[in-house]
Point group: C2
Chain length 288, copies 2
Amino acid sequence: MVEIVIAPHAGFCFGVKRAINLAEEAVKETLQGRKVFSMGPLIHNPQEVRRLEGKGLALLEKEGELDDKSTVIVRSHGIPPKKERELLSMGVKLVDATCPFVKAVHEAVVRLSEEGYFVVLVGEKNHPEVIGTLGYLEEAGGRGIVVESREDLKEVLGKEKVGIVAQTTQNEQFFKEVVGEIALWAREVKVINTICNATSERQEDVYELAPKVDVMIVVGGKNSGNTRRLYHIARSLNPRSYHVETAEELKKEWFEGAKRVGLTAGASTPDWIIQQAVERIRELTQEL
Amino acid sequence: MVEIVIAPHAGFCFGVKRAINLAEEAVKETLQGRKVFSMGPLIHNPQEVRRLEGKGLALLEKEGELDDKSTVIVRSHGIPPKKERELLSMGVKLVDATCPFVKAVHEAVVRLSEEGYFVVLVGEKNHPEVIGTLGYLEEAGGRGIVVESREDLKEVLGKEKVGIVAQTTQNEQFFKEVVGEIALWAREVKVINTICNATSERQEDVYELAPKVDVMIVVGGKNSGNTRRLYHIARSLNPRSYHVETAEELKKEWFEGAKRVGLTAGASTPDWIIQQAVERIRELTQEL
């Protein structure tokens, strides 16, 4: 029988759990006739989002539909301060589920820009967390850019004082490379490492586990940046690595000859999806 | 005939040239009966030091021999501030040939410690520049350590605010690794890159040249840290790399079958030694 090794820190992180708890609490207000929306999918996991929709949580489509009977949940990724003011001016009730670790990134970019640093945010240009953080930087009158790939580093050339922060779910190795590179050119660099512990732990688990198993499975939303990065790390260490969103995507042939299967999941992957994946791997490998 | 390619930035840097000029000026005072000493060998090149000894520059052996008829040259590496005061209290005349780039390291560690950073000085523990810089750190009441190898990094674990500087002649790649590594653990890191341009240019030359030649020769004092680092870089790129202090050490068999020979020299290697090495390579390769 195949051995399935689940990474110690797979699945929901503190910020995601908190956002879901706040949402579960807020949807109760629908019983009093309020409309409860989330600004974008509450988490980057389509299955869990559908589960919450079943409980009455609606995805905000048009801001025109908001009024003083509306509750809006700001998801763990946060939003730009300007957007927050806009929502409040419409009379909506805000439930702020912004992850405290993301709040720390907002504070870091404001502080760095006040201290005169050109800000480098290591992250994904289109990620809602990054868009929210850039909003805080703009509000503080700061200047800066997002570095998503080494290509973007050329925009930092010639900057004398550079302040560096990261999207909370960044790849640690890439962050390290960017910091080292910039430290060689700039006169002065200040780094506030805002990668959250949950991210480091999940990535370290993969560095530890992926080389020791025959097949490595990463479970989580295809739209989840932190899950995709776990998969990229896994694949760099073990060519038999696969990223699936749900148990249904698992394929029998992946497990041929495998004795040990490793499994991890992104910070936005709920336990019930992890459990389904484990059971499905057990079924498929018994058929082999 | 073999082609000899000399690296564009081989040999004396600004700080060393300046120290030698100041020394040549100072030794003229021996004509008026003054004794002129250098605190340690003026530069890390035994041959050039002997040339200056011939002009009357003495190596300070015992501080007991100093009096108000003595001139002491503080070499480009600098000295701790406490030592400077001791010398002045003996009535000696000080000629401060401390390299301005080294002065910038002194200022950087003082500033970082005033701002509450635990200071990491990336450098060689026994190098006079490092000893001088640590003196400034101590004087400012700061705390910190020297990181010479990855081993030393464990002393930085658990430090929350870390300020990083480098010995002016540090290896850029090692500095980059240290900065990246610390940025992953510490809450806040401030980096002031104090590696001097002369160092970067000489190292970049070797990265460029060593892989393109059949044999790579690095000329300079065996006691010169920056020369040794050029040699280490060369050897990592080209196994036929050799470090010699003088032309006499060159061996004919090194050049067997070679069509292109690369040559560079540390920041403390005088032109006349570089020239002798080039001529000797020409002789040896003509005999082959």
